[in-house]
Symmetry: C2
Subunit: 136 residues, 2 copies
DNA sequence: TATAAAGAGGACTAAAATTGTCCTATAAGG
DNA sequence: CCTTATAGGACAATTTTAGTCCTCTTTATA
């Protein structure tokens, strides 16, 4: 099983493209999609989520597009994952909007919640800047 | 998104039940399923995978059932996850049987593969014994 | 040896999630 | 006011997950 779904993967690729030349430009989805070889409409919907999460900003109209709204060093892979595919949990029980009627009696959860926190921290520590920095 | 699917969750619960009283008993799926409040047939299929992975052993016939074949301290959550739901990867590209035609040129992979290894190590470090030890 | 109690294994299904596509609306520059 | 771009939602195809069911094999024991 993979942790990163297609849409998150696409989002990461687009963000890296944007982070590479920090000209402050606005990027049109058509171009990002071509360069990342990714379905355009799907990418656009995904970028809209990043916009709502405050990771990028959208501008409509001619000369419009998407633009980073943060320093790439301050955008973590976790931020992107959670913006695109929702909260990251080890077990379904630990998701707020699902929950578990057995939570109080459950004997598995302490250790697993610990592991979940470690995992979250792990992906919080990898940033777009680092991804963009690989091989120049 | 959650890392542990239903079948892995069920498997963990069954393993913890087995680990709790180390009488060396053989456990019938009907009983495990009742105690863990889990669908019996589905649990049986899941336990069959644990058997193939060498984590438990099955015995057919009357007085048959499943039995731990290792010390619970030597069964990690990762072992169970991989036995039940296959290899754990950060990105689809990193799964052997899927792969990626862009792998050589890809600029995202180094950091992400590093994170993947950390994640694997993390779940390798949590054992059934620890899960079973919670609250007596 | 007949019977019954288990798991083995595969076919099948239902439901849910993922991964898209498409159409209309809205915003803004020129 | 025309064109370029995103916004947003409805829709569809595919894949995955989760589960059920049926038949077969193994084995203890009456
Ligand atoms: S928290 Fe739900 S069963 Fe453990
Ligand atoms: S390894 Fe497949 S695109 Fe990065």
């Amino acid at each position: 099983m993979e942790l990163i779904r297609r849409n998150t993967d696409y989002a990461l690729r687009a963000l890296v493209l944007m982070a590479k030349d920090r000209t402050g430009d606005v990027y049109v989805v058509t171009r990002l999609a071509n360069e990342a070889r990714v379905p355009e409409d799907f990418l656009r919907k995904t970028l809209q989520r990043l916009d709502k999460a405050g990771i990028i900003e959208s501008k409509r109209g001619p000369k419009g597009g998407f633009q980073l709204s943060k320093d790439p060093a301050r955008i973590s892979v976790l931020d992107v994952m959670e913006a695109v595919q929702g909260p990251l949990a080890v077990n379904r029980c630990f998701l707020k909007d699902i929950g578990c009627d057995n939570f109080n009696r459950c004997e598995l959860k302490e250790k697993l919640i610990g592991a979940q926190q470690d995992m979250v921290d792990l992906f919080k520590s990898v940033t777009i800047r680092e991804l963009a920095a690989e091989r120049g």
